[in-house]
Structures are given as structure tokens and as C-alpha cells.
Symmetry: C2
Subunit: 219 residues, 2 copies
């Protein structure tokens, strides 16, 4: 007679942990219920006692994923003691590095496949406390300081986001052998983006030498 470990204890948490660890290494596409049951030593249908279905587990992963994403990418947006230009530069770099370090998770969070789950999640949250809102607020801050052109802040934030999303996607989806050159590409990208957004005749002051070199008028 086989001894079964009935009442595992915290099987639900274990499913979540295993799923997140899996996505750390492989694409969510390859995460099957068999992977989860094998890893926990349970049967393939055990998960249905803890989640309505596979999508419900994915939803939890996405939720935790966005928490992780926000925690890792937005801190500089709130660091009001730093120069604004530095906050943009460092945040963008954290963004790209998050994607680079968590490609499968990034794709899960920002891809199309589970867009319905993402939208459901974001519509529930009290207000738009996501990274994008923080970005837009920082853009508005930059306009008040006279550093950024006074245009529609929503559109400006979209432009910044699209730029970072674009370079991140190209990197993680296999369009760039980027390990060697991504820093230079990021700097070129940031220089182009920011020099297109700063107000004319504003002297940018940054504590990051590179940025001063990039943005001061050279003539």
C-alpha cells in the first residue's frame, strides 16, 4: 500500500513558488500541470483543489510578477532627492535590465497571450498605481521644473515607455546579440529620447558624468 502525503499543508504556495521558479528558466508555454504535479509529488488534478484552472494560477503569477516588476523598476521614480534626469536614466536602465534578467516573466506580463488576465487585474486595482502612472507623474514633475517640453504628459510617458519596451523586446526576443553592446545601445537610445524631450535652452545637470557629456551643448 502506497503511503500518500495527504494534506500537504501549503500546496497552493508551493505551486506558486514552483511556477515562478520555472518561469525564471523557461517560457510559461512549457509550464504544464504535469511539471507542477511532478515537482510537488502530487497528482495532475490536485491543483484544481487550489485553483479554478490553469489560468487562475497564471493570474496569480502575473499579479506577483507585476509586484516584482514595480518593486524593481520604479524606486528611482520616487527618489526625489536625485536629479530628475538621473531618475529617468536609472529607471530606464532598471526597466531594460528587468526584461533582460526576467525575459519569460517580462513576456508574460507585457505580451498578448494573457492580456485578458492582465487587463482584468489592472482594472480591479483601486487606482492606477502602476509603474506607468508613476512615470507620467515624473514627466509632469519634469515639465514643472522646466526641464521637459510642456506637451501632453500622457503622450510623452507613452513615448518613453514605448522606447524602453521596444529595446527590451528586441533584446529578449532574439534580435540582438546584446550582452556586449546593450549598454552602449541603451545610452544611445536614452540620449536620443531625452534630447528630443528636453525643453530648449535648459541646462541639464546630472550627477552621472555620462549624462552631462551626452546632453550639454557641444558647440
Amino acid at each position: 500500500m502506497i503511503k500518500h502525503d495527504y494534506h500537504h499543508g501549503n500546496l497552493k504556495e508551493e505551486f506558486i513558488t514552483i511556477a515562478m521558479d520555472f518561469i525564471d528558466k523557461e517560457d510559461v508555454e512549457k509550464l504544464t500541470l504535469k511539471v507542477l504535479s511532478d515537482a510537488t509529488g502530487t497528482s495532475r488534478s490536485a491543483i484544481y483543489k487550489h485553483f479554478k484552472n490553469k489560468d487562475a494560477l497564471i493570474e496569480t503569477i502575473i499579479e506577483k510578477g507585476f509586484d516584482k516588476f514595480d518593486a524593481e523598476t520604479t524606486p528611482y521614480l520616487h527618489a526625489k532627492n536625485k536629479a530628475l534626469i538621473d531618475r529617468f536614466y536609472l529607471t530606464g536602465k532598471l526597466y531594460v535590465e528587468f526584461a533582460k534578467n526576467n525575459p519569460n516573466l517580462y513576456r508574460l506580463l507585457f505580451g498578448k497571450k494573457y492580456a485578458h488576465i492582465r487587463e482584468e487585474l489592472l482594472s480591479i486595482k483601486d487606482e492606477d498605481c502602476s509603474g506607468f502612472a508613476a512615470l507620467q507623474k515624473t514627466v509632469q514633475e519634469g515639465q514643472k521644473q522646466g526641464i521637459l517640453k510642456k506637451e501632453d504628459s500622457y503622450r510623452q510617458a507613452i513615448v518613453i515607455w514605448a522606447t524602453m519596451h521596444g529595446i527590451s523586446s528586441l533584446i529578449i526576443d532574439g534580435f540582438m546579440d546584446v550582452e556586449e553592446i546593450y549598454e552602449e545601445v541603451y545610452n544611445t537610445l536614452f540620449e536620443t529620447l531625452l534630447s528630443g524631450m528636453v525643453a530648449n535652452k535648459v541646462k541639464i545637470i546630472s550627477t552621472i558624468p555620462l549624462l552631462n557629456k551626452l546632453l550639454q551643448p557641444t558647440s
Copy 2:
């Protein structure tokens, strides 16, 4: 006794056509062999007489997809009679509109899922005659004309591509209710991008009124 239509004639071509039409409406994920067999009135395994497996069909779709993509997006890059700034503007717009009009195909061509097939295809082609090469050449042209900053043209081309890829992805993956505002967003994006790339003190001349308005010094 059921009359079978043995020797269909051009079943292979029909599979390809049906698959492309399908991707016009739904994601490639939902394209199953049953869809193809039902549409052609054949059995589910008939396709294996014409393609090694499903991936081989997808490979054909990707190949044709890139042909379509290049044909629809690059013409202005080669239109040397037009002002260079206009060529960038119009090409970018065609790019975004291609993604908007063919979201499933765009995702198939530029997403991660079939990256291995894409890479195999691109490595076979004689030389890099893809859209990116055309873009980079146009960037070099702009540098020679003194319109664009004289920096690494590869990096500059990447920046342009990343920007267009980013906005296109955000649009088609459900991050923007874009039907109403995408033109304005595109204009803001292009303005930011180009004004960050043009050489200082170069007067841009465009036949597109909007671009002159965007890029001429206003002070």
C-alpha cells in the same frame, strides 16, 4: 461509399493560403491542423504529405510574411526622390500601420515563439537584404547629407527600430485604446525621436507641413 477527392491538385498552396487568411483574423496559436483539414475537406494528417510538420508550414508562413512586410514597409526607404525626413516619417508610419493591420502576423514575425525559425530563415538569405539593412543605409545617407548626427549608424538604426517596434507592440498587445489617438502618439514619438537624432543647426526641409511645424526652431 464516400467519394474521396484524392489528388486534390494544389493542396499545399491551399494550406498556405488558408493559414495566411486565418492569421489575418486569429492568432497563430489557434491555427490547428484540424482547422486546416476542415477548411480543405481533407483528413488531419493529409498535411504531412506536403510539410514535414506543423512548424514547416509556419516556416513558410513566416517567409511569406516577411516578404509582405518588406514590400509594404520599405518602399519609401528607397524613394530617393523624396526628402529624407519624409522618408523616415512615412516609413515609420507604414511600419506601425502594418502592425496595426496585421497584428497576428506581426507577432508571428517579431515575437519570441518562432524565433528559431526566423533566425534560420534570415541566416539562409544571401545577404542582409532585410528591412533593417535598408534602414541602416538610409541612416548613413542622412549622415552624409548632414541631417543626422554622425554616430554609429547601426546603433542609430536600432534606436529607430526599437522605437517603432515598441509603439507597435504596445498598440497590438492591448496597452492602448489606440484607434483614436495613434496618429497623435505616432507624431509625438516621431518628433521626439527625430529631434533627438538630427544634427544641430540643420534646417530640416520637408514637404509634409506637419514635419516642418514639428522640427523648425520655434524660438
